[in-house]
């Protein structure tokens, strides 16, 4: 379980995050929505111990993320392209990640398992990651977090740079992770993507959890109305 309690973070005196109590369980697919600047990325960075919170804590499997790095064995994340290593080729990067995660699978197995999501531009590409399109980079990032059999996966705006076909494949991939009992936390500006891939949606506004509801037609209409207004 990921447990967040009394988590606050402010920049220059302006509150960017203030979450009193939030729990996310294995097997859940959670969509995080909110406008630009609402605090989604700050939330992710706090969970991943990339930001020092002003107060409160985040615990993954009862391990406080700022105290021990053991939580990294359970959680993989892809926040943006800067997490990729730009001077490696796609397969080299994935091999590197698998080695670091001490995974039992090799890169070919990983690509075969997710062949739907790994096209030739990943499997046969001789270019360095820095020379690839943003969409391809995102797909490499998504594949990289599947390495090491994690219990929790975090993706920040993975749909943003993907073409419609890849978006559909990613939705399918997220649902498949849920069936495997994994927890996926994904943010998106597109409610449709969240509705089709998640079973719980959290709306963040000014760093606070405004709604934390189940995905169904009624709730999605409410959220749609929120963004329309």
């Amino acid at each position: 379980m990921i447990k967040i309690q009394n988590l606050t973070k402010s920049f220059n005196g302006i509150s960017a995050l203030s979450i009193e109590d939030l729990e996310i369980h294995p097997g859940e697919c959670v969509g995080i929505v909110g406008n630009n600047g609402a605090g989604k990325t700050t939330f992710f960075k706090s969970v991943l111990d990339l930001l020092k919170p002003d107060s409160g804590f985040v615990a993954v499997e009862d391990v406080h993320v700022n105290i021990s790095a053991d939580w990294q064995n359970h959680l993989n994340a892809f926040i943006d392209e800067s997490f990729l290593i730009e001077f490696l080729k796609p397969k080299e990067y994935l091999t590197f990640i698998l080695k670091m995660k001490k995974s039992q699978f090799d890169v070919e197995e990983l690509l075969a398992n997710y062949s739907d999501f790994s096209n030739k531009d990943i499997t046969e590409n001789k270019k360095y990651i820095r020379d690839l399109s943003t969409g391809t980079k995102v797909r490499i990032g998504v594949l990289s977090i599947l390495a090491g059999d994690p219990k929790y996966m975090i993706m920040d705006e993975p749909f943003a740079h993907l073409d419609p076909t890849s978006q559909a494949k990613l939705r399918k991939l997220i649902r498949a992770q849920k069936e495997k009992g994994r927890c996926v936390i994904v943010s998106s500006h597109n409610l449709q993507n969240i509705a089709e891939s998640c079973d719980r949606v959290i709306l963040i506004e000014a760093g606070q959890v405004k709604y934390d509801v189940e995905v169904n037609d009624v709730n999605m209409r409410k959220l749609g109305a929120y963004f329309d207004n």
């Binding site: 991943l48 990339l50 790095a69 290593i85 001077f87 091999t95 590197f96 990640i97 670091m100 001789k126």
Partner: protein, 462 residues
Amino acid sequence: MNLFYLRHHYQSVVRSTSFDGEVLAFIIIAILFGSSIALTYDQLEFYAGSTSEFFFQREINYHLFLMLYLFLDLLIRLVYRRPLPKLKYYVLWNSASKQIASQYLFTSLFGIMPFVLAITMFIVAFKANEWLGTTAMITVGAWWLSNHFVGLISQFANSKIKTFIVIALFLTVLIQWLLPSLHIGHSLINPLIACVMLAISALLAYHMVKSSIEKREVHEEQGKSGLLESLPVLSFKNPVFQLEWALLVRNKRTRSNLLLGLISVLFLPFLVDGKTEWMMTTLIFFITTGFFIIQHGVYSLGWEGSYFDFLITNISPSNFIKTRYLFYAGTCVVGLLFASIPTMINGLSWTSLFVLFLYNVGVTIPLVLYRSTLNRTKIVLTENSFMNYSGMMTGPIFVSSFLVTLLPLFIYGIGQAVIGENAIYLLGLMGIVGLMLFNPITDLIAKKYHSKKYHLSQSFKS
């Protein structure tokens, strides 16, 4: 003839923001490089074997020396990766491929690295003329140009052609070695072989560039791997070590830093001799064995901080620090090996060189690594390092550079006042102590990295 490519290339060079810096670099390199070779001009003859009393033996030695020079020149060209033209522009503007190709081949002769190699070639060719006559000079010139085109071919060729080139060159060298009648300067056959090789390599290079343009291989411009870049696939046991290697050889700035460093290591020992003040000699030995740490290490985290979070890859700070330490120590060994030859040629003390090597491994590396947690400037990797001091003037890197350079001189100065010239051994002793404390020191640095993790995560994000 449509000189569109040539004109455009000229404008792109002249209008480049780094043009002034590059011109200055040309002048400085010409002065430094030319004068250091001129200073050792007579030694070329000595080490080529003129001391032998038998002429035929001298001839063989001259031949071997020239062959070695040409081989090293070729090696540099195979390793050095030339910037490829942005062919897609010319394809889109419908210029004739044969004209682009021929003009590209012409422009490829210019640049700082070709310039440095050309200075060396001119000096060696003149010396060859003096030793073995005009035919030897022509041979050196033709082989040198042929090397240039072979280097170009290797950039465009696939691995099969590269293998073929290496085997063909090896066989040619072997035949020339085994048959005295083919020795450089011995007969007209040798310049003839060199000219034939030149014609073949030039034609092949022309064909490959032209075919690359015609096949619209525009997307391959940045993706092709040179000799150095392909080495990481050899898969080191430790993936972090492999990453260090990839960082070094797959980025223009770090790669050119390395090559510049290696070249300077070969020449720096000639700047001093037995009569030079020991403080200066200490500085030279410090720079030669620590060339990489001074040029590359002080930027630690600035190179890779933009992607590094110790998060997605599960790299622990301890693993990272230990690997980087060993990698840097490896480069000190390379510096020691490279500097050993000119040190001994110049009659300097190899022991002193080794002492400074110990100091660098035991003291400079941990110092640089410890201070790197203060770096917060992201360094662009894809730009050349010539006259590129991006990041250099920022506080931590600037201070680190001066600190690591001045510290051994300061220690040596104090030591000299107390124990005289033996003070240099004090530096070696410090290095040994540093090495003995490898584990506690790296743990301390790892702890520092850990305590700075939020700073490190935020500093380099755009």
